[in-house]
Each structure stands twice: as structure tokens, then as C-alpha cells.
């Protein structure tokens, strides 16, 4: 890598970290195409760098999100039971299932979700109500301090069984296809469980780091993590995530949705392209 290329990778990574920490996704959708198409990096090394980028996004924003009570640790841990077991199932299924069809299916689901997301764009806060029996038993109700609104916002998880199943599917998909784990998590929490968008994003941000850490060993062992590329990516993403984590609490939920939407559409299109055989 030339110093110019290093700088370019760093700048792209700052953007990935910024968008990723605000939208609750890993930023692979930005990092992988930029590395392969613009900087001519081998796809395996680009995927290895993207795993590093996911963990950097998650860890870089974590300190601020934990301090500011943006991440719901209980909801995150409860759902992490579903994603981790799903990921193991996905890794086992990978030997049996032909993924091409699944890519297309996932892409269609994501684009359908994007349409539903557009319909929710102007909704600043999901409707309030008493917690369900499962939410009460599992302590899935809490509140977060919204600096934009200048008040403490209470919330409770709706449709918990549906959310749990969707999270399991998110785990299977990331174990099987290695893509879209962040967008599916945000969709499950925002769309199905009706958590405030910022809480969905910050909690997804925490969860994707755990999911990625579980599989990081595979990529290290395979020789897919080249420090010459992953180093600048990690530094850039960390810087971007630190900025994003400071912004999340100050922007509106609508703004977070507007940042999430193009990521959702891009991942949907990319997934369909991959399934049809002309993607990355």
C-alpha cells in the first residue's frame, strides 16, 4: 500500500465508523466494496478487514453508549442468546444449504423492510403502553435519556417472541452468509419489538461486536486479516465511531432512520446481486 492508499483507506473507514455507529451496523457494506474496487485489495483480506471494522465500530462507540445508557444491556444480552445459537446453526447449515437462493430471499426481505422503514420514517417515538407479560418477566422495559428531546424516554419491548425468532434468523443468516447481521438486528428491534430507533441502533451496535468476535478467530486462522490493511481500517473506524457515538444522543430518531435507510437498501441490493452471481 502506498501512503496515499493508506490515507484513502483511513478516510473511507472514518465514514464507515461514523455511519456504522449511528445506524447500528458494522460498516462492511462500505468497507468491502471500497477496499476491493477502489484500492484493489483481495476480497478475502477485505472481508477480514470488515470483521475488524465491525468490532472497531462496536468497541469504539461502546464506551460512550454504556456511559450514556443508550445501549439496553438486558435486551442486548437476552437477544444475544438467540443470535449466538442462530450463528452456530448457520455455520452448521452452511455445509448443507445452497446459499444462492438464500441471498436472493434475504435481499428481497431487506428491500421489503426498507419500504416499511420508509413508512415509519416520521415516527419519532413508538407508541407507549404497559409492558407485556414476557417483557415484564424478562425485564425488557427501561428508559434512556434523550438529549435531543431533553427528557428521559421510557420504552418497553413489544412482540418479544417475534423479536427473538427474528434475532435467531439474523444469527443464522450471519453464520451462513456472513452479511447483514447489523441491519437485521436493527430491523428486529425497531420494526418488530418497537424499541426507540436510537436504542435499537446502540443495542445492535453492541451486539454485532459480540457476534463478530465469535467468528474473528476463523478469519485470523485463515490468514484473512492483514495488519497492513486492517490497521488503517481499525484506526479510521475507531475515530469515526467515537464521533458517531457523541452524535447519536444529539440527533433525532428520524435522522438515525434516514442514515439507516440507504444502508438497508444497499445491503439488500448487494445481497441480491451476490445471490445472482454478480456481486462481490
Amino acid at each position: 500500500m502506498t501512503p496515499q492508499a493508506d490515507l484513502g483507506i483511513f478516510v473511507v473507514s472514518v465514514c464507515a465508523g461514523l455511519i456504522g455507529s449511528l445506524a447500528g451496523v458494522g460498516g462492511g457494506i462500505l468497507v468491502i466494496p471500497a477496499l476491493t474496487f477502489v484500492f484493489g485489495v483481495d476480497i478475502h483480506l477485505a472481508v477480514g478487514a470488515s470483521i475488524v471494522s465491525v468490532i472497531a465500530t462496536s468497541s469504539g462507540a461502546a464506551a460512550a453508549y454504556v456511559r450514556d445508557r443508550m445501549t439496553d444491556m438486558r435486551i442486548g444480552m437476552f437477544l444475544e442468546l438467540a443470535t449466538t445459537t442462530g450463528a452456530v446453526t448457520g455455520a452448521l447449515l452452511a455445509a448443507v444449504v445452497a446459499p444462492a437462493f438464500l441471498y436472493v430471499l434475504l435481499g428481497v426481505v431487506l428491500l421489503g423492510s426498507a419500504a416499511m422503514h420508509v413508512a415509519r420514517l416520521d415516527e419519532e417515538m413508538p407508541p407507549a403502553g404497559p409492558p407485556s407479560r414476557i417483557a415484564a418477566a424478562m425485564k425488557l422495559s427501561s428508559s434512556y435519556p434523550d438529549r435531543r428531546l431533553g427528557r428521559e424516554v421510557p420504552y418497553t419491548a413489544r412482540r418479544v417472541p417475534l423479536g427473538f425468532v427474528l434475532m435467531w434468523i439474523a444469527g443464522v443468516v450471519s453464520g451462513l452468509l456472513g452479511i447483514g447481521s447489523g441491519v437485521l438486528k436493527v430491523l428486529a428491534m425497531d420494526g418488530a419489538m418497537r424499541l426507540p430507533m436510537k436504542v435499537s441502533s446502540a443495542t445492535s451496535n453492541f451486539m454485532i461486536g459480540v457476534t463478530a468476535a465469535a467468528s474473528a478467530g476463523i478469519y485470523l486462522g485463515r490468514g484473512d486479516v492483514d495488519p497492513r490493511i486492517a490497521g488503517p481500517v481499525a484506526l479510521g473506524v475507531l475515530a469515526g465511531a467515537l464521533i458517531g457515538a457523541r452524535l447519536l444522543n444529539r440527533v433525532s430518531n428520524r435522522a438515525v432512520r434516514l442514515i439507516f435507510l440507504p444502508v438497508l437498501v444497499a445491503v439488500g441490493l448487494e445481497t441480491i446481486a451476490r445471490g445472482l452471481g454478480f456481486g462481490l
Binding site: S58, G60, A63, M73, F78, V210, L220, V225, P227
Partner: protein, 120 residues
């Protein structure tokens, strides 16, 4: 310990961990500009033929201050932070007296460690 104080402590631990990894990655990168990725900051003889993606022999390569090894240690520190965070959450829930979530988080930690050990 109050939930708020614990949160601040976890937040500090995370910030320090991320700071250490970013420093190591940054120092390794700058050092690579000076002596090359597989050189040595103390001028020791190096085995430059190993691929840069190989994380093996890290301690001996750190001993000769190889830029690549310094960056690799930084990346490993970064990759370990989510695990540390889950482990810290176990302590957090336990200190709040939340048995349900101490158990749930322990289960997540167990699945996480198992998949790190098994999926290699």
C-alpha cells in the same frame, strides 16, 4: 456498587482498552513507515519471509519490536474487547443482584467462548 458507578467503570475499562489497541496499531503503522512492516525498531535480524497475515510467533517478534507484531497485538486487543465487555456485564448484573441476567450473560459468554474455541 450502584448501577451508575458500575456503568462508568465499564465505560472507562472499554475506553482504556480501545485506547491501548489504537495506540499499538498507530505506533506499529508509524514504525512500519520507518523500518518497514517486517523490520525491527532495535535493528535485530528478522525473518521477513513469513506472510504478514500470520499471527504466530508474536512474542518473539514483539521482542525485536517488529512494526507488524505491534500492530497485530493492537488488533488482537481490539478483537478481545467485545469478550471483555460481556465478561464485565456478568459482574455488572451480579453486583446489581440481578440473578436472571447474571445467568443469561454467563450463557452468552459461554457460547461466545465456545464458538471462538470451536470455530477455528
Amino acid at each position: 456498587m450502584s448501577p451508575q458507578r458500575f456503568r462508568l467503570m465499564v465505560s472507562l475499562v472499554l475506553a482504556v482498552g480501545v485506547g491501548i489497541s489504537a495506540t499499538l496499531i498507530g505506533v506499529g503503522f508509524v514504525a512500519a513507515l520507518a523500518v518497514g512492516w517486517q523490520g525491527s525498531l532495535i535493528g535485530a535480524a528478522t525473518a521477513a519471509s513469513t506472510p504478514t497475515t500470520d499471527f504466530g510467533g508474536l512474542t518473539s517478534r514483539l521482542g525485536i519490536l517488529e512494526p507488524l507484531a505491534i500492530t497485530q497485538l493492537g488488533l488482537l486487543t481490539l478483537l478481545a474487547t467485545p469478550v471483555v465487555r460481556v465478561a464485565a456485564s456478568v459482574v455488572a448484573f451480579a453486583s446489581e443482584g440481578d440473578r436472571l441476567y447474571t445467568v443469561i450473560t454467563l450463557m452468552v459468554l459461554a457460547i461466545l467462548l465456545a464458538s471462538i474455541l470451536l470455530l477455528r
